[in-house]
C-alpha cells in the first residue's frame, strides 16, 4: 500500500500531465482549422489543373515518344515508396498507420520480386523504416525547419523525384499519406504518382475546337511536373490536416483518461487517509482504556 505522500505525488503528476494533453488538444484544434482552410484554398488550382490534364490526355495517345513521366520507363522493377509523415508525435496512431500501409505495400512488392526503395518525408517515419529496411532508404527529406510544409517543399520534393526518375533510379513511385476525412477519421492512402496516371476525362467533347500554343504534347510535357507538384502539395496539406485531427482526438482521449485516473487515485487517497485516522483513534482509545 502506497503511503499518503506517495499518492499525493502521483495525483499531482497525473494532473500536470492532464494539463499538457489538454493544452495540446486545444492547440491542435486551432491548427486543424488553419490546416483545413489551407487545404480548401488549394482545391481550385488542383481541380483546374486536373481538368486541363484530363482534356489534354484524352487528345494524346501514349506512345514511345511521349514524355517519360506519363508513359513510364517501360519496366516496373524498382518501386519508390514516398512516405509522408509528420515531424512531431502526440498524434495517436497517425504516423504508424501511414508507415504500416507502406510496409504492407513493400512486403507485397518484395514478394513479387521487385526492388523497393524509400523516400521519407518528415521525421517520424524514419526509425521504423530504418530498422526494417536499413539499406533501402533513397533519401530523407527534412521538413523540420519549416513550420507548415507548403508549396515550396512540394516543389523541392517533386524536383528531386523527377531528377531521380530521369537518372533511372526507379520506375514507379507510390505516395503514402493520410487523407483527411474528418477530425475523427484519417485514411492512410496509397497513390501512384509516377508515371503520372492520366486523370479520367470527363465530358471533354465540347472543347474540341480549342487551340493550343505550343502544341498539345509540349503543353503536356510542361504540365506534367507541375501536376506532380500539385499532387504532392495536396498530399502535404491533407497530411497536415490529418495530423492535427489525429492529435486532437488522441489528446482528447488522453485528457479523459487522466481525469479517470485522478478520480481513482483520489478515492484511494481518501480511503487511506480515513484508515490512518481510524487507526490513530483506535490507538488513543485503547491507550485511554488501559489506564
Amino acid at each position: 500500500m502506497a503511503s499518503l505522500k506517495e499518492l499525493k505525488g502521483r495525483i499531482n503528476s497525473v494532473k500536470s500531465t492532464q494539463k499538457i494533453t489538454k493544452a495540446k488538444q486545444m492547440v491542435s484544434a486551432a491548427k486543424l482549422r488553419k490546416a483545413q482552410a489551407a487545404a480548401e484554398a488549394a482545391r481550385p488550382y488542383a481541380a483546374r489543373l486536373a481538368e486541363v490534364m484530363a482534356s489534354l490526355a484524352s487528345k494524346i495517345t501514349v506512345a514511345e515518344n511521349s514524355p517519360k513521366l506519363l508513359a513510364g520507363t517501360g519496366s516496373d522493377q524498382v518501386h519508390l515508396l514516398v512516405v509522408m509523415n509528420s515531424d512531431k508525435g502526440l498524434a495517436g496512431a497517425f504516423n504508424s498507420n501511414i508507415v504500416k500501409a507502406a510496409r504492407v505495400k513493400a512486403q507485397e512488392l518484395e514478394a513479387a520480386g521487385k526492388t523497393v526503395l524509400f523516400y521519407l518525408v518528415g521525421r517520424k517515419g524514419r526509425p521504423v523504416i530504418r530498422r526494417e529496411y536499413p539499406k533501402q532508404i533513397a533519401h530523407m527529406f527534412d521538413t523540420t525547419d519549416v513550420r507548415y510544409p507548403g508549396f515550396n517543399e512540394a516543389e523541392r520534393i517533386a524536383d528531386e523525384l523527377v531528377a531521380m526518375y530521369e537518372a533511372g533510379k526507379f520506375d514507379v513511385a507510390h505516395l503514402f499519406y493520410s487523407k483527411f476525412r474528418s477530425a475523427l477519421l484519417q485514411e492512410p492512402t496509397d497513390q501512384q504518382i509516377i508515371p503520372v496516371p492520366a486523370p479520367k476525362a470527363a465530358a471533354v467533347a465540347a472543347d474540341s475546337v480549342t487551340e493550343y500554343e505550343p502544341d498539345e504534347e509540349e503543353i503536356l510535357a510542361a504540365l506534367l511536373p507541375r501536376y506532380l507538384k500539385t499532387q504532392l502539395f495536396g498530399a502535404l496539406l491533407e497530411n497536415a490536416a490529418s495530423e492535427q485531427g489525429a492529435s486532437m482526438t488522441a489528446m482528447d482521449n488522453a485528457t479523459r483518461n487522466a481525469g479517470d485516473l485522478i478520480k481513482k487515485l483520489t478515492i484511494v487517497y481518501n480511503r487511506t487517509r480515513q484508515a490512518a485516522i481510524t487507526t490513530e483513534l483506535v490507538e488513543i482509545i485503547a491507550g485511554a482504556e488501559a489506564l
Binding site: 483546374r48 508549396f151 503543353i219 504540365l223 507541375r226 507538384k229
Partner: protein, 85 residues
C-alpha cells in the same frame, strides 16, 4: 461585355473578377484576351500579366512564374505557381 478573369496559385485563388482585357506573355508571344475569345490554351513565359480593368485605364501588372493560361467559355483562367504583388 466584361471578361471574367481568374488567377489561381496552388495556395489560393488570387483573383476572380471581371475585367476589360488581359495581356498574357505566352511562350510564343504576347497575346491579349478580350471577352468572347476563342477557346485557347497556352503555356506562359515568366513575366508580367497586364490587366486592363477598363478600356482606356492604365494596366495593372502582376508578375507570375510557372504559368499556364486557359481561355474557355467561362473566361480566362491563369494557373501560376508563384505570384508577386
Amino acid at each position: 461585355m466584361p471578361l471574367h478573369f481568374e488567377l489561381v496559385t496552388p495556395a489560393k485563388l488570387v483573383r476572380s473578377e471581371d475585367v476589360h482585357m488581359v495581356v498574357v506573355p505566352g511562350t510564343e508571344g504576347e497575346f491579349g484576351v478580350l471577352a468572347g475569345h476563342a477557346p485557347f490554351m497556352s503555356t506562359i513565359a515568366d513575366g508580367a500579366l497586364k490587366v486592363y480593368k477598363t478600356e482606356n485605364g492604365a494596366p495593372e501588372e502582376i508578375r507570375i512564374t510557372g504559368g499556364f493560361a486557359e481561355v474557355g467559355d467561362a473566361g480566362l483562367t491563369v494557373l501560376a505557381e508563384h505570384v508577386e504583388g
